[in-house]
Symmetry: C2
Subunit: 460 residues, 2 copies
């Protein structure tokens, strides 16, 4: 299959203009966490509204309880798919400022990279879509209906987004949602992320006696809640690394052979991975490769534990209480609420004598996955092949991205994560950067993706 569009699009690129405009946006210190930057938030939102209006979009800035959202749409293609592109214009705080080689809000190019706070996360990647639409408009009419939703609170947990999606569900309706706010698998690997794990996060509380006791006077007879908690936690997984909670794996989608083969072919080395985190081993569920365990297998990890004396030296106490935060990553087919209920039912059955336990639900997140056979996934693959000259890697993410689950749940459309950045861009760190090449490839990919999505039949 040849794609003359690709050549056409490259020829129409205005790299200097795309860079200059992004730099303008990067100069606005839109730090959502800092109230002192409220005016900058508005400036950044206005900048995007004006730009999208200049591209023929109906665009507005919607206030929220926090920072405003920019919503824009251009619905030129009746009967064609509608694509909702999400991004965010807010950035992380710049601290520690002294570690920046050049100031965080004075974008500077060194060795082919744009150094600035927000360059990759997410102004650069979001703006690649704005410029992608602009590029496409130079080639002719838009082949799809396009909606933009650009929020200003992603770096503070998107507190207003869920309600906004619910309140505007009809207006935001789309056939597919595209988000570029993360990293490709590796520098030479164009990536579509088609699934994310979910989460069930609980707190386990154990009470022994009704007060702290002297371990000399009471040791050997008084229940020790820390020992009991360790016992409980050790019983939550077996020696094969499998979670022992009855029913935990019921309904959990197994990996397909296609996925296993695909991931086995990705450039990954257990040795390099372990070395990158300074680990002496990569323990986990037996029978699965590291990538399989990270992306498509449920896990159970203790995220925090406390009890008794934590200071210097020795205090001979049997504490009254101990507790732990325990989270389980979930895969498609596992419902967070059900899993939370299962662990709440199970822990009391494995609690040692004398341990009064309580399992409190803290937080949950749905796993999400787009079927690999979904035509929009195939369209993304074709778009990436055109831009990068190689097939896309189809990866999944081990973490939850709450907004992705919200989009999926509230708007009901599949979500494609097509990232242009890389881990080495150092989002959230000093000297965040974005390769110029990745930015321009992002613009090309966005345009190509909209073209390819336009080739899809609806209602499949």
């Amino acid at each position: 299959m040849t794609h003359p569009q690709n050549a056409d699009l490259s020829a129409l690129q205005d790299r200097a203009g795309a860079e200059q405009e992004l730099f303008e946006l990067l100069r606005i210190p839109s730090v959502s966490a800092d109230p002192a930057h409220a005016g900058d938030m508005t400036r950044a939102a206005d900048f995007l509204q004006l730009k999208l209006q200049s591209l023929g979009f109906t665009a507005r800035v919607d206030p929220t309880a926090g920072h405003p959202l920019v919503y824009a749409e251009r619905l030129d293609a009746p009967g064609q798919p509608t694509v909702l592109i999400y991004g965010h214009y807010d950035v992380q705080p710049e601290a520690p400022l002294e570690e920046w080689v050049t100031p965080p809000f004075e974008p500077t190019v060194r060795d082919g990279r744009i150094y600035a706070r927000g360059s990759t996360d997410d102004k650069g990647q979001a703006y690649a879509h704005v410029r992608g639409v602009e590029l496409l408009l130079r080639a002719g009419p838009l082949p799809v209906n396009v909606k933009f939703l650009l929020e200003g609170e992603e770096e503070v947990g998107s507190p207003s987004l869920e309600a906004y999606l619910r309140d505007h569900a009809e207006e935001l309706r789309a056939d597919v949602i595209v988000i570029s706010d993360g990293s490709r698998f590796a520098p030479d690997v164009p990536t579509v992320t088609y699934g994310l794990r979910g989460l069930s996060y609980v707190e386990i509380h154990v009470q022994g006696a009704n007060r702290d006791l002297h371990s000399g006077s009471y040791g050997g007879a008084a229940p020790n809640p820390i020992n009991a908690l360790c016992e409980i936690i050790s019983r939550l997984k077996d020696d094969q690394g499998r979670v022992t909670i009855p029913g935990f794996y019921d309904g959990a989608e197994e990996l397909t052979q296609e996925e296993r083969d695909m991931w086995a072919g990705l450039p990954h080395s257990d040795q390099d991975f372990a070395a990158s985190i300074g680990a002496s081993a990569l323990p986990g569920e037996q029978g699965y490769s590291t990538l399989e365990r990270l992306w498509a297998r449920p896990t159970l990890d203790v995220n925090g534990i406390w009890g008794g004396y934590q200071g210097e030296g020795s205090k001979t106490v049997i504490p009254a209480k101990a507790g732990a935060k325990v989270s389980m990553r979930l895969v498609p087919g596992q419902d967070p609420e059900r899993i939370t209920r299962l662990i709440q039912e199970y822990v009391p059955t494995i609690a040692p004598q004398g341990a009064q336990v309580e399992v409190r639900a803290l937080h949950g997140g749905q796993p999400v996955k787009v079927d690999l056979g979904n035509p929009f996934v195939q369209a993304a693959d074709r778009a990436l092949r055109r831009v990068y000259g190689k097939p896309a890697a189809f990866a999944r993410g081990g973490g939850s991205i709450p907004i992705v689950a919200d989009f999926r749940r509230i708007l009901g459309a599949p979500v494609l994560l097509v990232d242009f950045g890389l881990n080495e861009d150092a989002p959230h760190s000093p000297n965040e950067s974005f390769a110029l090449e990745d930015y321009h490839n992002g613009i090309l990919t966005s345009a190509a993706l909209l073209q390819e999505l336009g080739l899809q039949e609806l209602g499949e």
Copy 2:
């Protein structure tokens, strides 16, 4: 066996004088923890020195790096046993002052109890021995040689005592050491405590990766040091409540049938004991009663644990490190240093893959025990029978008292704990008190004990 001495002693008692003098001592706010009371420490030491001199003792106040020690001796009985009586004249701080019904340093009698800071711990119990000697002197010459060592730093951990014992080992030489600084088993139970458990206290450190990781991105492959620590701790005891460390029980003295029978006869109810600490069960090593487990069986308790996120809400972190404080109570025959070495050798062998462990020795204490057949133990039994009209309970203590182990180790003499107080005296708490009856019985017991000790043959 009749003991005419008993009647004699009672007739010689000067209850009013004994109370008035103790009240004088109690009025001195000798709070060792508070530098503002340095002058009061000296006043209390001087008071004791003068009193003992008035009883014909050679007495002096020895300075230390901290508060002074009072040393006194009256060696009237060549060829007879030498008894060293230890006590302390310093007291706990009085806070919270507002909870005291009457001021802590204005001794007040209510319902037959002396309310004052230090009334039971340890001025009242120590002074009972001073008055016991005085009582005995009224009856005739002392039947034994008597030495007093009264320190001023017990409530701050006796930092100067060990060196003092070493420096004065020859001068302090005794055949038996008597300490009254604790509680009888129960109100109607005169008690000799003839053993204490020892201690090995360690810290276990576990390292996984070299930094905190996101549990979404890494969960399922990165080693989790908290899970590993819980696994290690859960493996330190088996499902019978026995410690699994190889060699742990080697040499540990088993209970004799005599001890088991004796303790089975003590007024103890598991139900009441559990209720007193609000525990729903009293888990522990199978095959032993609660008192046996508390006094004569080794244990392993986690005294503190930490790792990861301990704040409010959910943080999805796999921490780099976790740690725990673990202490083992030891019984005679178990050497703390050896036990510490054993756990240091064992933990690495049970650490899960990817967990780098370190076991740091923090603290140790020797178990101590006087043989029940020891003639001094029998003398104490006879003295208590005379005063209380019933046989003594022979108990052990679950905790370590470091000074007891120091006396045993440095001076080489058996240590008898003959306590006059009760738990309900509330030492260290507001409204500390000491029953007048217990004080006067203490005086009688001290005198009777010295008489009975004088009947012992040396060199048995």
